[in-house]
Amino acid sequence: MAFVDDLGAALDKTPGGGIILTSLDAVMDWSRGKSLWMMPMGTACCAMELIAASFSRFDFDRHGSIPRPDPRHCDVMVVAGTITRKMAPAVQRLYDQMPDPKWVIAMGNCAVSGGIFYYDTYSVVRGVDEFLPVDVYIAGCPPRPESLQDAILRLREQVSTDSIAPGKSRALKSDLPAPGSPRKGEPSTPGGDAG
């Protein structure tokens, strides 16, 4: 993304470039948001819903999102399904092959946290965010195709805050937990109930 980065950085530094930068950002964010091509990284059950999502019934093409099998042509990697330790390097590699700017959607609980395969298993990566920067998490096992569509639309929200100038991205008006708040729901030992 060298050219764009340079352009963004240059505009940012140039006096008066901010206006151009803002309008360019607006165009780019619109363009990127409306044309999120997916890299279907389907491994398990969620892959079926991922397929279904781009097929007749749910038709992702309507949103301008089409699945491309080649990582070089894609903007957003949809990790759909369980990622095992054997698979993770391949996923990482495919992610690296994607050109910037790129996003990751973790579709389904296996990709979010390991889901049903969180406990007792020796081979599952507990969440694809262990090695990829995930932008949108979709809960579900598997999520409905609408969930994925919803995620794409939400990703647009996020994309709309991006800037081509480094470090200029606006904060997303979202409900992130307050900094320093403890991570909820960590497993504790059972007990203390009279059930």
């Binding site: 969180y118 497993p187 059972p190």
Partner: protein, 153 residues
């Protein structure tokens, strides 16, 4: 063919296998000595068990119990063959030469239990990565990456 006919058929053809035959949950079970497994399997194949359904193992603590599920198309019957091998010298004859189907299945057992099959043409790990340490389906498998699900019933 029901289980009694199968027993009679087996006893008439191979009297030496007869005393090893028993019935559990409606299935015929043949418990053989690990050293005789290949011979017994060969006999059973000649008897008409042309399909090898499943090869698996059970970690019983101090031993591994190998379980072979055979299926016969003509007789419409299935049979289990079970053999026990000691844990420290977990090794048994491969039946790949009788049924090629055993190829991957024995590799899987090797992968997950660490039982070696003598005479297997290509005994490598199949499901796990080649550099995996340990055999996960053993009851004493230790792995730091496992988070135990709290015992909560």
């Amino acid at each position: 063919m029901n289980i009694n006919e199968l027993r009679e058929h087996l006893c008439s053809e191979y009297p030496d296998l007869c005393p090893l035959f028993s019935v559990e949950y409606g299935d015929g079970v043949l418990v053989v000595d690990a050293s005789r497994l290949h011979d017994a399997a060969s006999d059973l194949r000649d008897l008409g068990f042309d399909r090898l359904g499943m090869v698996t193992a059970v970690d019983t603590g101090d031993e591994f119990e190998l379980v072979y599920r055979l299926q016969s198309r003509e007789m419409h019957a299935g049979i289990f063959v079970k053999a026990r091998v000691a844990r420290d010298i977990a090794s048994i004859a491969s039946v790949t030469d009788l049924w090629p189907a055993a190829n991957w299945q024995e590799r899987e057992v090797y992968d997950l239990f660490g039982i070696t099959f003598e005479g297997h043409p290509d005994l490598r790990r199949i499901l796990l990565t080649d550099d995996w340490v340990g055999h996960p389906l053993r009851k004493d498998y230790q792995d730091d990456r496992i988070i135990r699900r709290p015992d909560y019933i």
